[in-house]
């Protein structure tokens, strides 16, 4: 919507005067970027605020909405109650809602206004939701999933009749995920109902005429708030796409934040690094840091490792008991909230956490951050560093504690990336059919939808701007008739079409769909409770399925004995056993970012130079690894920036081929699939496959035919797509992608909470469904999406092409080390393995058996 209204001067408005008086009475003054945002907001402009956490980014949009309200209600602003929803505040984490609400309430009280601040997410009690139904608060803080739940309510359009502003907080976190797509779709609908009054029910229309009056107020401002990412302009364009405006702004806070990065060095450099193990050995150094600091956050990459760290810290330093806590996504909400509160009040000395504490909330007492293991990306590292030293002018201090010695190079790379502000982009998702299927069913559950109207709206979003008529009608066909069927023997029932209105009429289906919205977690998670009652946390089903009653495991820092599973709940009792299983949770294995990869290759280049010339300049981290690099160089080679290193090594396991592109595990997986497919055209051969962020390994029972004569051809970018799709592994990878898609697209029903039995006979696994669709319905939209996601997300096709063209311009160095090298060792011991084969299945089985019987 273009803005042709006269521009108001912020400083002349009554709203600004009242708000700045409140600032002055609190001995504060607004930041320049906040005033800039307010000016745009009162001019009804939309845009994006770029500010780090802890710098008043919330106020930049929230107070803009308040000023707007005061300006429009100069006389009665302090008395007016029940104004209807004014500001919809979208946040990715429900944990953030409480803190934001608290900050907003303080201001509202200070200004003497009557606004209510409400929140809506999975934890909102039913009574509160019903209250909101009768009277919406002026500000509603909401998660993307709950936005869709609002759209699943009857007469949802009425909620938005008074809405002036939509703010999407932490947009950088949502962008690039399917939850971001949920936000895009919900916004397109909200704008649709606020702009097209003709579509509203007559009751709504009457109401909106009474409340609104002038056309001016029908404009909804849309604001994103984002930390710095490489593609801020695009981030804004994605969010604002449904507005169809060319007149939007980016407001930058430009608040510099000094960050100090300190590496923790092991006393002795292991020449054969083994991932994960060194970290725990360095626990004493971590304790030293904790003791010398007020409050410390310890970021660990996986939930499983965080449990281990928590246990080890307590064991090595019993004094910490009671002053240290654990925080990760599978721990009971109440316990997490307690940890967060305690961080605020400063009673905790240290918290071991995962990405669960990456976002939002400021914990002022936090002085120090320890990053254990690779943060995988520059942006994440800087964000975590920023969790410390929150007061203006203070330095953020982050310690980098490697989990294997080679990771020290990453510390050097991160420092260099920080100095040149080399921050990753977040690529928006394109054409997520699963989310669209879910969204259309959501609309069908509430008031029903008309495809012609919704299609136009959906096409205004960035995600679906290229959707074709044909694709959209395939989706509507899928939800109404359920794909391939045996006509007269079919009873498929979901969305029904009555006079052109698409609607879900069955109450049971509607209820199930509502429960379903927001299920992004695909692996079945089980609740864990004490036998005597008391919720502990969540655990993945596949982990618990390997346990026998009596086995001991750790969750939320407690040692527990597994008793039994009852109706989707794991019952456990306390255990005093010294030995226990550490659960592992799937997912959350982020690949190394392209940016960090580039910096890393530069550092290896320096390592090469230093190893060959003592006088060369480099970082302390690279220097410290000298013994490792000397061994690598003597056995094989250290790749320079313009080289690709390949090692052929023979062990008793078979013939290994190690390749080191330093491009992150996902690109390595794709490269591995490509290379093995191309090798298999030379001769029928089967590989098992392992990868990490530095390289990948192909292992076979026969020599691998790669040498100087064919290396360039094997890494050529020609026929890239065809070759990858033909490689056996694309199905394997698609199968993994399909897990999420099947859940979001409504193919897997995870059961009613506490009503396990009623979902009778509807259980199936994503891998079974994948197999079924692959064999019987190849054209299924969701199946095709799985394959597309493999290309776009998994393979990161664009990045893969960049990688191949870089390799093509590099020198390929092939070595034949006599034994395992420091680079190859972590790959050799990595347990993540997959098979890649070009042989006939029957032949493979026969040969495997022959080998075993030898």
């Amino acid at each position: 919507m273009e803005n042709n209204l006269p521009q108001k001067k912020l400083h002349d408005t009554p709203g600004y005067k009242i708000v700045s008086a409140w600032f002055a009475s609190n001995n504060m003054s607004p930041f320049a970027f906040q005033e800039e945002a307010w000016q745009h907001i009162i001019n009804n402009q939309s845009g994006l605020v770029n500010a780090p956490t802890g710098c008043g980014k919330t106020f930049s949009v929230f107070l803009g909405a308040v000023i707007n309200f005061i300006n429009n209600n100069v006389d009665g602003y302090s008395k007016k109650k029940k104004n209807g929803l004014q500001l919809l505040w979208v946040t990715p984490l429900r944990a953030l809602a409480k803190d934001i609400a608290r900050a907003m309430e303080e201001v509202i009280a200070g200004l003497g206004m009557q606004w209510q601040i409400g929140s809506r997410n999975g934890d909102t009690p039913i009574a509160e939701r019903q209250k909101q139904r009768r009277q919406m608060p002026e500000v509603l803080i909401i998660t993307p999933e709950s936005m869709h739940l609002l759209l699943a309510q009857k007469d949802y359009a009425e909620i938005f009749t008074s809405l002036k502003t939509i703010a999407v907080d932490e947009w950088h976190e949502l962008l690039g995920s399917k939850r971001g797509v949920q936000v895009e779709l919900a916004i397109s609908r909200i704008l649709g109902v606020t702009q097209a009054t003709g579509m509203l029910s007559s009751r709504t229309e009457r109401r909106s005429r009474e409340c609104e009056g002038s056309a001016e107020q029908r404009i909804v401002n849309l604001w994103g708030i984002s930390a710095t990412i490489g593609n801020l302009e695009q981030a804004r364009d994605v969010l604002l796409s449904p507005l169809k405006t060319h007149n939007s702004v980016i407001v930058r806070a430009n608040i510099p934040k000094p960050i100090e990065v300190i590496s923790v060095f092991p006393d002795e450099i292991e020449k054969y690094p083994w991932s994960g193990h060194l970290g725990i050995k360095l626990v004493h150094k971590a304790i030293e840091i904790i003791n010398n600091s007020r409050t410390t956050l310890i970021f660990i990459n996986t939930r499983g490792m965080s449990e281990l760290w928590y246990q080890t810290l307590l064991k090595e330093c019993p004094d910490l008991a009671g002053a240290i806590a654990l925080h990760h996504g599978s721990i009971d909400m109440e316990m997490r909230t307690w940890v967060e509160e305690s961080l605020h009040t400063g009673i905790l000395k240290a918290v071991v956490c995962t990405a669960s504490l990456d976002l939002g909330v400021d914990f002022r007492p936090v002085e120090t951050v320890i990053q254990v293991g690779s943060p995988k990306g520059v942006a994440r590292f800087l964000q975590r560093a920023g969790r410390s030293g929150h007061q203006p002018g203070e330095v953020s201090r982050i310690y980098f504690l490697p989990t294997h010695s080679l990771e020290l190079v990453e510390a050097a790379a991160l420092k260099a990336a920080k100095d040149i502000n080399f921050i990753e982009s977040r690529d928006p998702r394109i054409l997520c059919f699963d989310v669209l299927v879910q969204y259309l069913c959501t609309l069908a559950v509430s008031d029903g939808f008309r495809p012609e109207e919704i299609f136009e709206e959906v096409r205004t979003t960035y995600c679906y701007r290229d959707i074709t008529d044909d694709e959209f009608s395939q989706i509507t066909h899928f939800i109404t008739s359920g794909g391939t069927a045996l006509q007269q023997y079919d009873e498929y029932k979901k969305v029904e079409v009555i006079d052109g209105l698409y609607k879900i009429n069955s109450r049971r289906l509607a209820m199930r769909h509502r429960l379903h919205i927001g299920t992004i977690v695909s692996d079945p998670m089980l609740k864990v409770r004490f036998i005597g009652g008391g919720y502990i946390g969540m655990i993945e089903e596949w982990f618990i399925s390997r346990l026998q009653p009596g086995d001991v495991f750790t969750l939320a820092g407690r040692t527990l004995e597994f008793v039994m599973i009852k109706e989707m709940t794991v019952l456990a009792r306390k255990s005093s056993s010294k030995k226990s299983n550490i659960p592992s949770w799937q997912g959350g294995r982020m690949p190394l970012s392209a940016n960090l990869g580039i910096m890393l290759r530069k550092k290896f280049n320096e390592a090469y130079l230093v190893t060959n010339d003592k006088k060369a300049q480099t970082d302390v981290e690279v220097k410290a690894l000298e013994p490792l690099f000397i061994l690598q160089q003597s056995l094989s080679h250290i790749p320079k920036e313009d080289e690709l290193l390949i090692e052929h090594i023979e062990t008793k396991d078979g013939y290994h081929l190690f390749v080191y592109p330093f491009e992150g595990r996902l690109v390595h997986e794709a490269l591995g699939a490509l290379l093995s497919y191309r090798l298999s055209r030379i001769t029928p051969i089967t590989f098992s496959f392992a990868m990490n962020d530095y390289g990948f390994e192909l292992l076979s029972d026969r020599p691998i035919p790669l040498d100087d004569s064919n290396a360039d051809e094997l890494f050529s970018a020609e026929n890239l797509l065809e070759d990858i799709q033909r490689s056996v592994n694309s199905a394997e990878m698609a199968k993994r992608k399909f897990r999420d898609i099947a859940v979001i697209g409504g193919l897997i029903f995870q059961g009613y909470p506490g009503e396990y039995k009623k979902a009778r006979h509807l259980q199936s696994s994503a891998s079974l469904l994948f197999q079924v669709f692959n064999e019987y319905d190849k054209n299924n939209l969701l199946l095709r999406q799985a394959y597309n996601e493999v290309m776009e997300q998994q393979m990161e096709e664009a990045r893969l092409r960049d990688t191949l063209s870089r390799i093509n311009n590099s020198k390929i160095v092939i070595t034949f080390p006599k034994r395992l090298t420091p680079f190859s060792f972590p790959l050799k011991v990595d347990s993540m393995r997959e098979n890649l084969s070009s042989e006939k299945l029957e032949d493979r089985v026969k040969r495997m058996q022959e080998q075993l019987s030898k």
């Binding site: 069927a485 045996l486 029932k493 078979g654 199936s764 319905d777 393995r833 058996q849």
Partner: protein, 221 residues
Amino acid sequence: MNASHQIKIKNQNLWLSSERCLYWEQEKALVLSDLHIGKTGHFRKAGIAVPQTIFKEDMHRLVSLIQHFSPSKLIVVGDMFHSYANKELELFTKWRGDFSSVDVKLVKGNHDILQKKWYSNAGIELFDSALTIAGFCFQHDPGECGMDEANKKKYVFSGHIHPGVTISGMGKQSLHFPCFYFTDTYCVLPAFSRFTGTVSIRPKEDDMAFAIVNNSLVRVN
């Protein structure tokens, strides 16, 4: 159609088919398990769009097996039907009419929850816990084998668990297939329906397991 593997138990000839069933020569009986008829329909009725082709092809496979072996009876060791009655079961009854000369004996599985009358109308003879013929006993859950004093000495044919087996080789390779599983006292049949997952079993030294690899059977131990 492929039934290349013949095994002998208690002097009886049993032919294993890669189409997930076995043929008992002396008794002219086709023995199968876990057909889960009506499963796709049950899912679809609940708004879960699985392709119904699986059901169609399961039925076609059954027809070709009957044409190939010309059995006088079908012995189903449970989970012949997936859940409540639906239209897919109508297609089954129509099919049943075309093969009325074949006796169908069903040992009830945990999924067989239809009314007794339904089975008799469909020409299916129902056995609540077990069926014994000669030295053989047929029952659904292998875990309950040999519980019954009278059948203790009999060899048991069962289903229920949808057995699968993992084959591993050098270079840390591994593959997973549905399988037939024989111990010295009982056998577990693979699930007949293709719309079923598998549960891994680990054959012991004296056991026999046959993996179903595409259209052939491979002895894995």
